[in-house]
């Protein structure tokens, strides 16, 4: 069967912006300028969460003024090794992307973990935050996490 079907190259290019809002802005500025990790505390659900939020997603309590500083150290609760390259990645592969529960926080955040030997990274690995040296207005104000020995500072 003959067909006239063919393909046409197209492109979409549109600008956009995203406002972090007052609560997230406070957190990012503290990371960037004071190297402090500020989390939100909800008494009703008994949870401390980082990244922080204006409202608790479970109880709808207003958390915008309920700040708690949490540790720059934490534990890997899950991880993957990125082995392929694509333009939007924050660094060249291979690298470890991990779920990290900071000491004092009940939620996990996703971040990059640096290790001398990425094949040895495991759940339960202790890590600490390394802050960016130049100002960054997003979660990469923490440049990455580094592995630290397990027995030195377990919570």
């Amino acid at each position: 069967m003959t067909t006239d079907a063919f393909t046409i190259a197209g492109k979409m290019a549109l600008p956009y912006q995203y406002f972090a809002g007052a609560t997230s802005s406070r957190c990012i500025v503290a990371l960037r300028d004071e190297k402090k990790i500020l989390a939100s505390r909800c008494e009703r659900s008994d949870r401390t969460v980082f990244p922080p939020r204006q409202v608790c997603d479970l109880t709808f309590e207003d958390l915008s003024d309920n700040w708690v500083e949490v540790s720059d150290r934490g534990t890997i609760t899950g991880f993957t090794i990125i082995r392929y390259a694509e333009p939007y990645q924050p660094m060249a592969p291979p690298y470890v992307l991990a779920l990290i529960r900071l000491d004092g926080s009940d939620a996990t955040l996703t971040h990059i973990v640096h290790s001398e030997d990425i094949e040895t990274v495991a759940i339960g690995q202790r890590v600490n935050a390394v802050f960016a040296e130049t100002p960054v207005n997003n979660i990469l104000a923490i440049r990455h996490f580094c592995c630290v020995p397990t027995d030195s500072d377990s919570p």
Binding site: D4, I8, M12, A13, L14, Y16, Q17, S25
Partner: protein, 165 residues
């Protein structure tokens, strides 16, 4: 903890979403675009069930739900049935570039089309105030054609003094 500063720094992330795309013409639009490119012909589909002309051509007529369709060459001349004079410089969504204004978009009933099935395209004129319904226009084809709607550069207004129905 500490009080929120009165003049708080509010963080904004500014980005451009830019995506390369590939669109499949399918056999029907593909035939239409190939005819524009290779033969400078404008082909419409006519539904045999209800006589409706399809521009853009589709695989099935949306009103009769029939696929009993025949290709009919129409134009390249036609009659302007509606037009918009655009003063607002909207961006070209394919490139983000801002368009020059004013420009005219028109709906043209091509010769050979029966009923209200217009072709939508740019209208080139040096006399915007003289634009009116019923003006005769003709498709101007591009020198280099790629199999896209831009193979018709625009429709030019014919100075015939004649107005259509």
């Amino acid at each position: 903890m500490t009080d929120t500063p009165r003049e708080q720094e509010l963080i904004v992330s500014k980005q451009i979403l830019s995506i390369e795309q590939t669109f499949s013409t399918g056999p029907i639009m593909g035939h239409f675009l190939r005819e524009l490119r290779d033969n400078q012909r404008i082909m419409a589909l006519r539904c045999r069930a209800n006589g409706r002309f399809l521009l853009p051509p589709r695989e099935v007529d949306a009103w009769s739900l029939s696929d009993d369709l025949e290709w009919i060459e129409v134009g390249p001349e036609g009659t302007l049935c509606e037009f918009d004079v655009v003063y607002y410089a909207s961006p070209d969504p394919l490139t983000g570039a801002t368009r020059n204004v004013p420009y005219v978009i028109g709906w043209v009933i091509l010769d050979g089309v029966e009923g209200l099935s217009p072709l939508w395209h740019l209208i080139h004129t040096t006399d915007i105030p003289a634009l009116r319904h019923g003006l005769r226009v003709r498709a101007v084809f591009a020198e280099t054609r790629t199999g896209a709607m831009e193979d018709i550069v625009h429709f030019e207004v014919l100075n015939t003094g004649e107005t259509g129905p």
